[in-house]
């Protein structure tokens, strides 16, 4: 199977920021991402859980697969949104099928 190197960026961010993050990613030329729900978690700002919440509470996980050479642009864009907020950003090496999509 024909595989191509890529980076998998995983951004956990507060739900009220989701729109701003994805807008920033799109502006930075990121062509694809996937948003996963998050049930709860723990960090420097304490423990939280989504259960019973009503508003745009909690966090979401945004996953982007991108070509390695575009990583920096993406991280700059993401960082500008995440920086003053609660959230973590991690990057993993990955291989993808159908590279023309990224």
């Amino acid at each position: 199977m024909d595989m191509h190197t890529a980076k998998r960026v995983e951004i956990m961010i507060e739900a009220p920021l989701e729109k701003r993050l994805t807008a920033a990613l799109e502006k930075a030329g990121v062509t694809g991402f996937t948003v996963l729900p998050v049930l709860g978690g723990s960090g420097r700002s304490g423990r939280w859980s989504r259960e019973g919440q009503v508003g745009r509470a909690g966090m979401v996980a945004v996953i982007c697969l991108i070509r390695p050479e575009r990583l920096d642009t993406l991280l700059d864009a993401a960082f500008a949104v995440v920086e003053p907020h609660i959230g973590v950003v991690s990057v993993t090496d990955a291989m993808v099928l159908r590279a023309e999509r990224f």
Binding site: P16, L17, R20, Q53, V54, G55, A57, P84
Partner: protein, 325 residues
Amino acid sequence: MSSIFDLAASNLISPIILSFALGLMAAWARSDLTIPEAIAKGMSIYLLFAIGFKGGASVAAHGVDAKLLTAVGAGVVLSFGLPLVAFTLLKIMTKLSKIDAAAIAAHYGSISIVTFVAATSVLEGRAISSEGYLVAVAAAMEAPAILSALWLVARGGTNAKMDDGLIREIMLNGSIVLLVGAFVIGMITGEKGLAEIAPFIVSPFKGVLCLFLLDMGLIAGRGLRAAKGVVTLPIVAFGILMPLIGATFGLAAALLVGLSTGGVLLLMVLAASASYIAVPAAMRVALPQANPAIYLTLSLGITFPFNLTLGIPLYLTVAQMVTGG
């Protein structure tokens, strides 16, 4: 005075309040009782739709009151003004940073629709009528307080993250749109529309409110558990004093507008209550440096239960005394 206590006592043993208390206690005892997020959101959609629709239908039935606009205007002024009062009070009473104080102030200028709903159900239980358009006033009071608070911060030189997107988000947030939309539908379809869907939005209303308050109790209780240490005694004192001050302003405004006894109560409750849905989300975007543990605990863990249990009966007694109703 004894009637306040009677009223408070009879209020306290209603299924609504006891459901909230059950949630608080379950959280306190660290029970794993939880309401799924989707169900909680579904119930809040139901409550907003029902309260909006009933308000609109009532306006349709009683004719569009000339006071509607005045009342909405009064609400907007309150929502703009109360954050300034709250901010000053916080700077005097507590050692909170300017950012934290401003964030809290935004919550107290805005409103808690669930407290409003609980007050309407107290009115219904006593067969006291009120102006249907207070639902529109409630909607109008959600957003201005946020602008006030951001102005408080910006004035001090700190950068609040205020952009067009945020203003749009605040004005068009789901709760406001649903509340106003249902109000308009109620106004258009009137009594006939209400009759069609009353078995859905009227009869089971109080029961749904019980389960919703159970959830609020669970969240408030878990918040209080987690916030031990963050929320100091002066902050707690603010959480009880501020609704009393807010209610006083609400009373003055209501009398100026010339509302009925029920209307006076509801405007007092709006002014006394603090947001814990729309404003927290806006604060995470606009004032991320402010500590959410403080403002959420204050509004949901202190002021909300205070209004629910003691505040509403107190305000009602005052409203009845003042209006002679």
